[in-house]
Symmetry: D2
Subunit: 383 residues, 4 copies
């Protein structure tokens, strides 16, 4: 019998989009319960969310610094086991830093920071403190993404030559006529979002997905960023030619002005033996493409899948898993590490994105920005 982990949250106050997603994902398997939070930089709003969540008011804080310190001062049997950080991009770093320094395990939304330097700082801090740090690149939680990873890693595709990863959204076109269609105008503001709108929000997911599935790291890239929506102070479309270490090449693009697209993160991997295609909007299937003209559709919940893919399916075949299930899989894996850390045991190797993935993501993002500003040239991946 496992005890429920005690979860704290920073961010996720009234009107937030991703906060509630984290709360459901974190608790849907019954492994954790939220007990503390600093839900907003406005103490009244934080308090209100605490009330809505039926928390003990003494565990609802007006600032994350307060929370970091006071929770750390609670006895081990009471204080939070980990904190979920769901604030806008620019605050990820200070909050995560404070939490790690106070001794808390961290589950953090992406992109991890707003600079590679910050990312490396966090990486050092994680190593130094020995705390758990999970980054919610939630798409890695889908069963069929895990199956794709398995097939690539086992060599079933042969040598991987080409990778096309697509992540076009269109909400910035839609919201002009229908403001309710927007998902966070703060994304357009460099003070909150950091130096990137589209590539930070979407491109880093794409980079992470490629690496999660294929294991390939970018060697160099050539990027072109554009701003089509006038009120946007950052880019709303980005496209990259990419060369991976080892010789594979590919395309990686993301967009927020691709009219009529909702959230299609699609990946195509082409090897010397097989091709693969996975689509986020139809996530329970994986297309395996035989080079002589057969397309085999695998589906989640079947026991021919690899163990990781099979177990990541919450329900049997034909009963669709969704976005939240995948998100919860990241939490479920992170909990293995959190439990070990809290219990003073060796933290096992788990299947969730870490601070190292965050560093890679920020390296990618800074390389993209550098390529774009320096004459759109091929640019070596920053390290």
């Amino acid at each position: 019998m496992k005890r429920k982990l005690r979860m704290g949250m920073v961010g996720g106050g009234p009107g937030a989009f991703i906060g509630p997603v984290h709360r459901i994902a974190a608790t849907m398997d019954g492994e954790a319960e939220i007990v503390a939070g600093a839900f907003s930089s406005d103490p009244a709003k934080s308090r209100q969310t605490g009330l809505d969540l039926q928390l003990d008011p003494s565990r609802v804080y007006g600032s994350y610094e307060d929370m970091a310190r006071k929770e750390a001062a609670l006895p081990p049997g009471k204080r939070i086991d980990f904190v979920s950080i769901v604030v806008p991009n620019c605050s990820h770093y200070p909050v995560a830093k404070a939490m790690l320094e106070a001794g808390h395990n961290v589950i953090c939304d992406k992109p991890m920071t707003v600079s590679l330097k910050q990312a490396k700082d966090l990486q050092r801090l994680v190593r130094k403190t020995g705390k758990v740090f999970a980054l919610t690149h939630n798409y890695t939680g889908y069963p069929m993404v895990k199956q794709a990873r398995h097939m690539c890693r086992k060599g079933e595709l042969g040598r991987i030559n080409k990778i096309v990863v697509e992540y076009p959204q269109g909400w910035m076109v839609g919201f002009i006529t229908n403001p309710s269609n927007a998902i966070g105008l703060w994304r357009m503001d460099p003070k909150v979002a950091g130096g990137s709108c589209c590539m930070g929000d979407l491109g880093t997911h794409a980079e992470n997905l490629v690496r999660y599935i294929t294991g390939l790291e970018i060697d160099e890239l050539c990027a072109e960023l554009s701003t089509f929506v006038k009120i946007n102070k950052l880019e709303d479309d980005g496209m990259c030619l990419v060369k991976y270490k080892g010789g594979a090449k590919g395309i990686l693009y993301a967009s927020q002005i691709s009219a009529g697209e909702e959230n299609p993160l699609n990946i195509n991997v082409y090897g010397t033996k097989l091709g693969l295609r996975w689509e986020q909007e139809n996530p329970n299937y994986l297309q395996v493409k035989d080079p002589c003209g057969k397309v085999i559709r695998l589906s989640k919940g079947n026991d021919y899948l690899c163990k990781e893919a099979y177990q990541a399916g919450r329900l049997i075949w034909g009963h669709p898993d969704g976005f939240i299930g995948a998100f919860a899989n990241v939490y479920r894996e992170a909990y293995k590490a959190v439990r070990a850390e809290v219990d003073g045991k060796k933290v096992p190797k788990c299947d969730f994105p870490t601070v190292d993935d965050g560093v890679m993501g920020m390296a990618f993002l800074e390389t993209v920005l550098a390529s774009n500003t320096s004459g759109r040239k091929w640019t070596k991946m920053k390290r």
Copy 2:
């Protein structure tokens, strides 16, 4: 601030498929927590599940009768607010009856009973006791099913002429070579499943879905049942020609021997103005078919949807909702009624399947069985 409802469960012990689904669905919105259960007719197993769920051992019972009685004896602030019944078909009736008679609200898995007589008994009992009774025809919880319902009910399709509802599964073919592919061999046993295997399990979902969406009741039908799998003591394939009240006609079929099908519950509704198609395996979309050759794909999470459909989406567009989300929507609606009942208020009209739907389902099933046994003739819907 809403308090968490206290949930009890009958069934859902070790190895169960649908029990865990109910537990996640019931709790994922943070509106309820499980506090009591009679998880198995084997007290040791029940106890084990109670431990796994970290329940107070005094609230884990060795029999449902015990649970019904003892929970009712607890003070109002402590006893369960409702019980979820997730036992095999043949036990739905006695458990539901005991719970209602003891004063508990009930959320029951489908098919509701194993006979129309039992169903009507429950209907009378629900009316007499004034308790809430929800039946988990979970497919009604999908956002786009609600949108289809809205469009039919508002007349956007014109007069409905034809309905084709399909529910072929193939697991009985698959499990022969791969036993792990089976989902409950008890379904083949009349002592546990009642008089039907395929039509009770799947056909009742199909009948319910048609009625939920279109509002049309069956007037008469002609059924053909078959058993293709030798060890099956009941039917594993059923198909019906149907005439609805008011003049629409259609086909309703279900199967467990349709090799390679997973769980495609699909419905096509054809009116004098528009056609519709919805597919359970791709549930976040609804196809609207213009009679002059345009197919419009609506998707969940968009604010052009009707209010019920929009709210039933747990996440915005492009972030797939799954089976469990739909299931949880049934619970969420039932909670509105449960809260009112517990608080002694008038129970509002809510959007969940009720005991009346269960009666219709059993009437349908008995009509199917009667048609099949009486020379496969057109048979008036039993009442």
Copy 3:
């Protein structure tokens, strides 16, 4: 080097839909050219079509009787080698009879006749005269239909248990608001179409497709026909429960009032080893469904296909074949028989629908009509 066959045509005058399809299909492989015709019962219209087609005016006839007789009187090196009959249903029989009796080979549109009696007469006449008679159930010409047939006949599906064949159209809904959407209002007139509108036009294609693919003949059926469009004197929707010889069962339905459907003739065949699905609107693919949850998509033009399927593809993989290509395949096969007959050689076994298929189609249609009128009862297939 093959000489071009000389083709005559009855029907296909101004405004016809299927006449031009036959002309393209018959000639696209360069194996035949049209040299004679009685294109309309109105001699002026016939003449005009002859001019449009640049025919020798002496070979353009005012009546089919004239054509039958005069062409037969021409010397062997000049007279037509075969005649294509593309008149409305009710005229198929008299025209085909006249042509066969005059010694001409016949390629006839479907449904073959308007009664089983007529069909059997033609069958007798074909046997007596030894002439070639091909019936253009054109959907049998698609490469992936031939692959499906191959797989069924070779036993790759195991024993076939269930067949669902669907053929819903919606043009009768569309044409009410958009008259140009109609494809032949003569189909609603019993004097021209015979005793059936929907099942004669579409249902016979469905019956033929099932038999072509699986080889299974109907043993008995239960039919329900409906008329939803007021001006229609015949049925515009038909649905059947079917029992095949040997024990398979299934559903066969056709419709002209399924709003928004264009021309989806779809077939699902479920065996004890595999399932199959083919869709006419996406004809270059065949879905093969493994009972344990893999769907393999085969596509035309690949050399893993059976010989018949491979050769029926006019182009390699990825270059879509269409309706006319399939239609032309029926002609191409029929030409093998026509050439043999004309050359006085033994007519080989070819892969095209024959007069026997026409007899089966009319037997099916009369059984459907009989079941519907005699209290919608299960009815043995007429012979």
Copy 4:
């Protein structure tokens, strides 16, 4: 009544892939017949093909020079009206030049030449001679491509911001294990194919399709070419970032090593009002994407389409048109111009790709090659 045009052909001898496609496409509407040819540089092979096609042996030539001269010497009522050139890339130029100089109209396969210089020479020659020159960028012949063009040109998409055009094939992976999967190994040989394998064969189609639909010309591009198959002396994968005149941006890629892809030429166009997607492998549909989450599927053969799209459909809705039909549409349009030229009338503006499109294609190809060799830099489109 239109007389049949007299067609000559250069290339298309035994074993050719595209020659037979041209012959069917050219003749399927009954507007032309082949009367002459120089089918192979081997006179015996040319003669054999002439026999197979039942041509007058005096019109079958051993060389294209011979054909150009001798056909020109025939009287106007006998000599060819146009010649189709279906030889490998490197011969397009000399053959087309000889034919134009001899006074023949030309329909030429793509890519038009192997250099921009050659292309401009042909352009000058076409202008000087006033002869018709059509280039078979056959994908422009599809009905739904014409509809997409119509919508873009009429402003229905608003301002176009982004274009993603994809053309991955995988046959070079497939043919390694299955040699019969190859479509012309000459494509790998610079002596026959010119300076490019993948981008010349596929990339030029993609460039042409973008320009045909949107009217946008490339301003500059950044290209990356790769060779993954060892025996290939040219590139088998190419990808470009593109900036169009007027500000739109996009991605254009083509590949021959994308394992398991057959022939998916797909285009996505995103404007400020709508998005569009068309797929060559499912060509009878066009997806129109509303920025607020509706996807409208238009289909060919419906009279809501623009006139050009409607007329390009050979059959009504639901009866799939294929690759050859689209190809034949290019011919059909070219015939309007050929007839006018032959009759000494003003050549009307027709809807087929011309020598100017060929120049643009070669400019594109040379720019791609230049970008790739000059350090993979952004490079202005050559003129």
